[in-house]
Symmetry: C2
Subunit: 438 residues, 2 copies
């Protein structure tokens, strides 16, 4: 009976890595998770499938078109398209059990049926941290969140990156002081200045701001230069007096003060009035993060403060502040720029290679190494020696232990460094101390 | 403008944990992952959505009815219902890049629209390890897989558990020697003996075995008592001579020998001819694992050897052996039996509680503790002292550091043990050494 062969392939827009790449991916994942946890964020893991009426409680916009829906019986379901909507639902649902301020992180896959294009994925990991207050939430949280991000990118090996910070209230208030009504639209245009350039922004602003003096003032405001302290001083010297503006300035000043206290060096954050985050979701502090040497990645980590997380699920006022790393996209960018080192990420330290098919001595060596916390595997297949060595090479395993008749008789092992080819006949105990002293 | 409130809830059959439960869940997850990796299994992470034609290449049975399908444009897609089919597709698709034997693990969510009942989930984690050979695969792998499982359940805190092992070829061969043709059906019946009892099995066997002597022989065979060595001796003394039987006996003998070599104590594994794994998928060694003190959990970890992993995707012969832990179900069972300790799983060691809203000194203490690898959080909200302490209590944080005016002036901190209520005024340095010496 011959079996019909189906061509093995995956859907376009889905990322699938080789095992070696996956090890590197998991390393990044672990750095993010470990840092989130070390700042006291608690994990949650919501279902990937939820009721459509819940996921789509806030409808509208492009998102809805991108949503994967499914039906079973009379139940309409959808795959989550972010981790914020499930968080809102989770908090509203479990209000009574949650200790506020609720610091949670979630790392998980989300789904968007976007147009298929390079570097865009339909299934991707988001890594979110948020702090949610019940009724109120201290502005100092807005300073702690960036310090989590700082630690993560430092640990990932980056020195040169900038967390850009702004406060939506400042630009809102400033625009209102100019009697510009469509300030949401103006913010959207302003946000694009780095992408499309000043000239194009001026052109687009003409739709919302009548006088060229008005446009000049906006451009001057958002492109102001200087140190973070000078920028804050500039705001404090401003003649703008509306409440929203003053509130924003005070918040930004507090955030700036405590960001320093949390230990972020000056070179790694900058107040930038151009950052507005296009979404009307954010109401105060906003963040974007750029790697200085890889501007083409765009913002690798964005977020901000919102007044009300869960208005579609509860009457309770739940202000919060959060930030999100798009891990799949970030890792893809790392690979595109050859930042990921695939040659030194073997999960195991050493491979035991028995020359023949009597495995007792080899397994004994394995057991002893495992007891000393050395990560070891044993090659259990037959075949030529060269084939076995090729396997170790292909997996980039740093050491092999070769066990032949001589080794068994002398109760020794031949330890070979795969990088420089050096080998030495040693006891298992000596081998353990060599591997542990690397 | 008032917002329409949607009732926050999730679909039935989906598990969602509290953050504290999630911490405990992640601990189990981490134990499994760490042990899989320490045995040299490499991670893969396949998409949750795949092409229907690929996922359903091997059709039929109840599984298909349970599958979640979705459509976008003309593409028919489905959610994966296990991790074995994706593995088969992955190996067939990436044959050229994979180093064989391919040792992979995958931990991920799978989906089955099962009938809604207690302890059954529609979204659940599977944790799979498999070794796949290209053309052939050493039988010694069948002995290493259980040692991974042994390490995992030991680390999860269990001493009394048994990995039950059998080899399908033995019972196949034995039944053929009795001229029983429908041996697949007989295996299915035999597999149920612990659930339904001997009398019921005898009754069901009557359909396939004509003589009561035949039934006696089968029952006698599958219920043979004795040590593992006695059981193997019993097989070797048997008068059955067909090749399949002899092959099975030789394999089981080798597996038994190397299981000992890999360090599994006698009390934690047992040869059991009743274990057949109902699926026709398995062709050699089969495993089930039972916790002695919790027989009601059923098998917590099952698997076996198969001749041909990916026959629906490639002509290449890919034998393998693997085992799977149903993590969601297992964790649910742990919770039902109160095995999980939720009172001592705080992610952070200590919470800094500033008495007023000047956070500088508190943040400085935080930074110093973090540099010494102590997991610390700082309470940034206003409010009464009692409210702050209640927060620490609710999260089961073992220590708090209280910072008031006196502490700031004297450059000290008040460290309070939340378990016994003891508190002491110490320097940050002393605090670090106290917390590190716990």
């Amino acid at each position: 009976m011959s079996t019909k062969i189906t061509k093995p392939s995956i859907l376009p827009g889905f990322m699938e890595l080789t095992p070696r790449e996956q090890v590197a991916f998991n390393n990044v994942y672990d750095v993010i998770r470990r840092n989130y946890e070390s700042f006291g964020f608690l994990p949650i893991d919501t279902p990937i499938i939820e009721k459509s009426e819940v996921l789509l409680a806030k409808t509208g916009g492009d998102t809805e078109k991108q949503i994967y829906t499914l039906t079973k019986g009379s139940t309409e379901m959808a795959l989550r398209f972010d981790l914020t909507v499930p968080l809102a639902r989770y908090v509203a649902q479990h209000m009574e059990e949650i200790a506020f301020p609720f610091k949670r992180y979630q790392i998980g896959k989300v789904y968007r049926g976007e147009r298929n294009q390079r570097g865009r994925f339909r299934e991707f990991y988001q890594c979110d941290v948020d702090v949610i207050g019940n009724g109120a939430l201290s502005i100092v949280n807005d300073a702690q969140i960036p310090s989590t991000i700082y630690k993560i990118f430092k640990e990932l090996g980056f020195d040169n990156f900038k967390i850009r910070i702004n406060n939506r209230k400042i630009l809102d208030g400033f625009l209102r002081s100019l009697n510009i009504d469509n300030y949401i639209e103006v913010l959207r245009v302003v946000d694009k200045i780095e992408k499309i350039g000043e000239a194009k922004v001026r052109e687009e602003l003409e739709e919302y701001i009548i006088t060229s003096e008005g446009i000049d003032e906006v451009i001057k405001f958002i492109t102001i230069e200087g140190s973070n302290e000078e920028k804050i001083q500039f705001l404090k010297n401003s003649s703008v007096t509306n409440e929203r503006f003053l509130e924003g300035v005070e918040e930004l000043e507090t955030v700036n003060k405590y960001i320093k206290a949390f230990g972020i060096p000056d070179k790694n954050y900058v107040i930038d009035f151009k950052i507005t985050r296009g979404l009307d979701y954010y109401t105060g502090t906003v963040y974007e993060t750029f790697l200085d040497d890889y501007p083409e990645f765009g913002s690798v980590c964005s977020g901000g403060r919102y007044d009300d997380l869960a208005q579609f699920y509860t009457d309770k006022k739940l202000p919060g502040v959060g930030i999100s790393i798009g891990l799949t996209r970030l890792f893809w960018s790392f690979m595109e720029s050859n930042i990921i080192d695939l040659d030194s990420n073997s999960l195991i330290d050493v491979l035991v290679i028995p020359m023949d098919e009597d495995f007792d001595y080899g397994i004994e060596v394995c057991n002893q190494l495992r007891q000393s916390e050395i990560k070891v595997d044993i090659y259990l297949e037959g075949g030529k020696f060269a084939k076995k060595m090729k396997y170790a090479n292909k997996l980039a395993i740093p050491y092999v232990i070769i066990i032949g008749e001589d080794e068994k008789t002398s109760n020794k092992i031949l330890l070979k460094n795969m990088e420089n080819g050096e080998q030495q006949l040693v006891s298992t105990k000596e081998c353990i101390s060599i591997l542990n002293s690397r």
